[in-house]
């Protein structure tokens, strides 16, 4: 049974329910890499609000992969100012998820490339991506797309 080919488009309010599920799946994946990324029980409610705001914001890009009405992939990028550095505007990819069945068919590459196009149009001069340090799948993915490690966030629990 062949899966339908997804179409990449900008997210709309009607997508929020399905897209929020993908955001929470991404957070749960992150949780696998570090106990300091433990997902809150209200994460799904927060994800809905978060996407609602992002869709309306001029400083965000939210794209979804739509397979005949089913949202199977998502990418969200934000514009960030860099007052101390040149170039001054960064497009930061902070949410990126593809459902397991739709992986290994270059849909991830397409989502990221499309997000880069959109972020550039909004003024981004460099593109960054954030994910847990231990996520080697993400490391390999971004390396292949020409990204390199640029900044590290280290954490420790002080509870």
């Amino acid at each position: 049974m062949a899966l339908p080919s997804p179409v990449i488009r900008e997210a709309q309010p009607k997508d929020i329910e399905q897209a929020a599920d993908l955001v929470v799946r991404l957070k749960r994946l992150n949780e696998e890499f570090d106990s300091m990324l433990k997902v809150h029980s209200d994460a799904i409610d927060h994800a809905r609000k978060y996407l609602q705001e992002a869709i309306q914001s001029q400083r965000s890009v939210v794209l979804v992969a739509d397979a005949k009405g089913k949202i199977v992939g998502l990418v969200k990028g934000d514009l960030k100012d860099r007052p101390f550095y040149e170039p001054a505007i960064e497009g930061s990819i902070i949410e990126f998820y593809v459902l397991p069945e739709y992986r290994r068919r270059k849909l991830g590459d397409e989502l990221i490339n499309e997000a880069i196009v959109k972020l550039r149009k909004k003024g981004a001069q460099i593109i960054t991506a954030e994910f847990p340090t231990q996520n080697m799948i993400a490391v390999n993915f971004y390396n292949k797309l020409g990204f390199r490690p640029m900044f590290g966030i280290y954490g420790k629990s002080v509870d």
Partner: protein
């Protein structure tokens, strides 16, 4: 192991050992594959474990695993005439394990992996199969899968079913069932008609723990993506509705499969309850609930699905032709030969697979494995099917007779109190 050469007096050692042996070493140095002809490497295998999942005892470590490996070696000798060397190793991780076995390779004609925890056993088998030039076998995967498939073939035959249009539910997702599901798919079953059930329910491509599986058990992850076309959710109860076959390899608990769930299966359902020592449902209860054919892992019930029906014969065949690997195709062929043997003797609902007493089946299975290796150009020694059969038969008979002769001569003592 018994010496193959007579020692008449100490002067014989100048032939078997130095200086005579140097010529043999030189020849092997020139042409390394001669080691399979000039030494006993061809018929010597290592039974390797890290002791991380021994029987139902868990991670008891390499030392405590040794008696189990010795027992396995005895089965290899008695049923397959294979000289198997029990070889627990003290290693911590997958890479170390693989490296250790690779270092041992020159001494052995094959490797039998034993009692390694899941899912690391998948990683180890996969890497060793790629890296070694001798067959590598993990009984908890290929052995169990092969024997299960053999029993399944005949159960389907008896109930007029075909693999292409049969709904199969696998209950339990340890090494045995993951390997069995993969083998059944390899043999031609549509993965969409397969349903895997674990402690969290039925696997499907969008289950909430998919990414966890991706990181921790990619074999299960891959099956989750390919199986369960209809996306049914729930547990074993939901999975069994309308199913043709249940293959349970989970926990020893006779209450895990409820009779009413068996009753909800398709007509003439097939139930394999393979947990040892206690099946997931007692055969009597399964039959009362409507099961047409029931198999377990136990010898005191009909239809025992037992690895020992396969592994001695698979090794006999692959070692005879000095094979370079054991492929899934060979496992399928071996299983089909096992199934055919039972068919030729006359299938019944309580006889879908040969019993352990029918040792005559072993040379037949050895033959198809060796033939397949020759056919796939994976054999160092080309032999015909009938040559492999005759050789296997002779080897197995000789092993049995040697052990008997040793007991009769008093060199192997009888068990105390006559074994009672």
């Amino acid at each position: 192991m018994i010496p193959r050469v007579p020692i008449r007096d100490l002067s014989d050692f100048s032939i078997y050992y130095t200086p005579g042996v140097a010529a043999v070493s030189r020849a092997i140095h020139e042409k390394p594959d001669l080691v399979f002809e000039y030494t006993n490497r061809w018929n010597t295998i290592a039974i390797v474990t890290d002791g991380s999942r021994v029987l139902g005892l868990g991670n008891i470590g390499p030392e405590a695993s040794l008696p189990v490996m010795e027992g396995k070696a005895l089965i290899f000798k008695y049923l397959g005439a294979v000289d198997a060397f029990p070889h627990p190793i003290r290693v911590q991780d997958v890479e170390e394990f693989v490296n250790a076995v690779e270092m041992m390779e020159p001494a052995f004609g094959g490797i039998n992996l034993e009692d390694i925890s899941s899912p690391k056993c998948f990683e180890i088998l996969e890497r060793l199969r790629n890296r070694l030039e001798i067959p590598v076998w993990h009984d908890d995967q290929q052995g169990t899968a092969g024997v299960t498939y053999a029993a399944l073939v005949n159960a389907l035959h008896l109930t007029s079913r075909k693999l292409g249009s049969t709904r199969i539910v696998f209950f339990g997702s340890g090494a045995a069932n993951l390997a069995a599901a993969r083998l059944v798919i390899h043999a031609g079953c549509d993965p969409g008609d397969i349903f895997l059930v674990d402690t969290k329910g039925i696997l499907h491509p969008e289950r909430a723990d998919m990414d966890q599986l991706l990181l921790k058990n990619r074999w299960k992850y891959d099956l989750a993506i390919r199986t369960n076309r209809e996306r049914i959710t729930g547990g074993l109860k939901e999975a069994l509705k309308g199913a043709d076959v249940l293959i349970a390899a989970s926990q020893p608990d006779p209450t895990l499969v409820k009779p009413e769930w068996v009753a909800s299966m398709n007509s003439d359902p097939i139930v394999f309850a393979l947990a040892n020592p206690v099946p997931e449902i007692w055969p009597e209860d399964a039959t009362k609930a409507g099961a047409k054919i029931v198999a377990t892992g136990r010898s005191d019930f009909a239809n025992q699905v037992n690895n020992s029906l396969l592994f001695p014969a698979v090794f006999r065949g692959i070692l005879d032709v000095r094979g370079r690997t054991v492929t899934d195709d060979m496992v399928v062929s071996a299983a089909e030969a096992l199934a055919k043997f039972a068919r030729d003797r006359g299938l019944r609902e309580d006889y879908i697979i040969p019993t352990m007493e029918e040792w005559e089946v072993f040379p037949h299975v050895a033959r198809v494995v060796g033939e397949k290796a020759v056919e796939l150009n994976l054999a160092r020694k080309k032999m015909s099917g009938s040559e492999i059969y005759e050789h296997a038969l002779t080897m197995i008979k000789r092993a049995r007779n040697s052990l008997k002769a040793l007991v009769e001569a008093g060199l192997i003592s009888a068990p105390p109190n006559g074994g009672n």
